[in-house]
């Protein structure tokens, strides 16, 4: 397990990322993957107040919402980084959204999926050496946008 800090934000380098929607993917073996939101996506949303997620058994398509996140002044979709069927929903995170912010890459995971096209869709995610560079670019973008505290 490798966590590095990029511009003040923790990043797990063994995960893959959809950095447009700030979702991470951990491959658990076979087609099973775990999905959550990265620390930068959470920071720019504000303090989480509510999480809603689809039910187990729901089929989701890559790029489509599997739930929504609501903060004090923001509401937005949780976007699936891969297509698949929802195998599990983290009920603890739904009950206590603060868990997602305190441990985004661990206990704050959101759903587990059986990915329907892992081989085909994996290439759309950012992984390996590219993670740190791309993550740093997003931090710069958000600083310019004014959504990060100074």
């Amino acid at each position: 397990m490798a966590t590095v800090t990029v511009e003040g934000f923790p990043v797990r380098t063994e995960f893959s990322y959809d950095l447009t929607h700030h979702m991470w993917v951990e491959e658990l073996g076979g087609e099973r993957v775990r999905v959550g939101m990265d620390a930068l996506g959470l920071e720019t949303s504000g303090t989480l107040a509510h999480l809603m997620m689809v039910e187990v058994g729901t089929e989701v398509a890559r790029g489509e919402p599997f739930g929504s996140l609501e903060a004090e002044k923001y509401v937005g979709p949780l976007v699936a980084p891969l297509s698949g069927t929802v195998l599990a929903v983290n009920a603890d995170a739904v009950a206590s959204p603060s868990l997602v912010q305190s441990d985004p890459y661990g206990a704050g995971w959101m759903v587990e999926l059986s990915a329907s096209d892992l081989e085909g869709e994996r290439s759309g995610l950012v992984s390996g050496d590219e993670i740190v560079t791309r993550f740093a670019q997003k931090v710069t973008e958000y600083r310019l946008e004014g959504v990060l505290a100074e």
Partner: protein, 374 residues
């Protein structure tokens, strides 16, 4: 041999929460914290926001115990942990805040200090006003705590550079005021008469359209009560600022539902017609229970439809910015981001207007032109 060592006493590195009081510390709205980049986050819909709201902070809290307020004395929890208007108000150093205001002054539209009912509220508000005025020229309002004030103190506010005064009447009739704010479990109640004395004094000191009364829809008032007050205030060139009751969890009114959306929209429209289009009390009809049943617009000039189409009646009522534009817009102040917008902090888009028309069901109280001419 056993030795006992006395632990070395260290000075605290961080000032304890209970010492972080005004005037050196203030709370700010979460929207203000985002605008001044004191907190990370974004709004559900991007828009220009520059209305900064400050709230005095005391460890002993507000002395009032209003039934609907997050800061009420008998609401469970310590004052430090209490939310206000349902969300956290970050506690910040006043001087750091003023520095941020100065840095971002070009995008600020209105500043407002909210007093609380506390013995130190008046001198501390003057002190904070002076610190702001020394570095920032954005128009500054004060939402006053009438029990701490008299005419002389209002004059001191004006001399310090305050241009508008708000009075949080909230309850629009004397009976409702007594029920929610005077006959309260703790802290001593507030006085309807005293609130109006301060309204009168503020109107004298600050002049026409420089005073506003906050009115809260959903405390048990009728439409007629609301519209009567709008008319009385407009006659005196005092603004009515509308707020939608939003139940504060664990407050005495924590289980009370909000006003239905159709009612809220019609009241927004009525307030606009009275204040901006000169409608009088005789333009509105009510049933025996005080519900609005008809708006009587001129037959040959569809001012009501024009007002709706402009979207302006449904925008946040608040003190203006330097050029008269909406300055204090309180985004998501009385609704969650996932709920229908109650008062729009941005000009409503065509999609917003379509939704507003559906929510308002105006045809029930204002039939189409063809039917009105019959």
């Amino acid at each position: 041999m056993t030795t006992t060592t006395t632990p070395r006493r260290l000075l605290p590195l961080v000032e304890p929460e209970d010492r972080r009081e005004s005037p050196d510390w203030v709370r700010i709205s979460m929207a203000s914290a985002l605008a001044l980049r004191m907190r990370s986050g974004r709004f559900a819909r991007p828009f220009e926001f520059g209305g900064i709201n400050l709230l005095l902070n005391y460890a002993s809290g507000c002395r009032s115990d209003c039934s609907y307020c997050g800061l009420a004395r008998t609401r469970p929890g310590t004052y430090e942990d209490k939310s206000f208007i349902r969300v956290e108000w970050p506690l910040v150093r006043t001087d750091e805040l003023v520095g941020r205001m100065a840095r971002y002054e070009d995008r600020l539209t209105r500043l407002c200090i909210s007093m609380v009912t506390h013995g130190r509220a008046f001198p501390d508000t003057v002190e904070i006003t002076e610190r702001i005025r020394a570095r920032v020229s954005t128009p500054l309002s004060i939402l006053v705590a009438p029990p701490t004030l008299d005419r002389n103190r209002l004059e001191i506010f004006k001399a310090a550079g305050v241009d508008m005064i708000g009075i949080g009447l909230d309850a629009v009739t004397e009976d409702l005021f007594r029920h929610h704010r005077t006959d309260v479990p703790s802290g001593g109640g507030l006085s309807w008469e005293q609130y109006w004395e301060v309204v009168d004094a503020a109107r004298d000191v600050f002049g026409p359209w420089k005073v506003n009364c906050h009115t809260l829809v959903g405390l048990g008032e009728t439409d007629e009560d609301m519209i009567d007050l709008f008319c009385r205030l407009a006659e005196r060139q005092i603004f009515s600022y509308l707020f939608s009751f939003n139940p504060e969890p664990d407050s005495r009114l924590g289980d009370r539902p909000k006003a239905p959306l159709h009612r809220w929209r019609r009241i927004q429209l009525a307030r606009h017609l009275i204040e901006d289009e000169g409608f009088g009390r005789d333009r509105f009809r009510f049933d025996d229970d005080g519900n609005l049943v008809a708006i009587l617009g001129p037959v040959d000039d569809d001012v009501v439809e024009r007002a709706v189409a402009s979207g302006i009646p449904f925008m946040t009522n608040g003190c203006p910015g330097p050029s008269g534009e909406p300055g204090c817009t309180r985004p998501f102040g009385s609704y969650r981001p996932s709920e229908p917008v109650r008062d729009y902090p941005w000009p409503p888009t065509p999609d917003d207007l379509r939704r507003i028309r559906e929510e308002m069901r105006l045809w029930e109280v204002y039939p189409p032109a063809v039917e009105r001419r019959r």
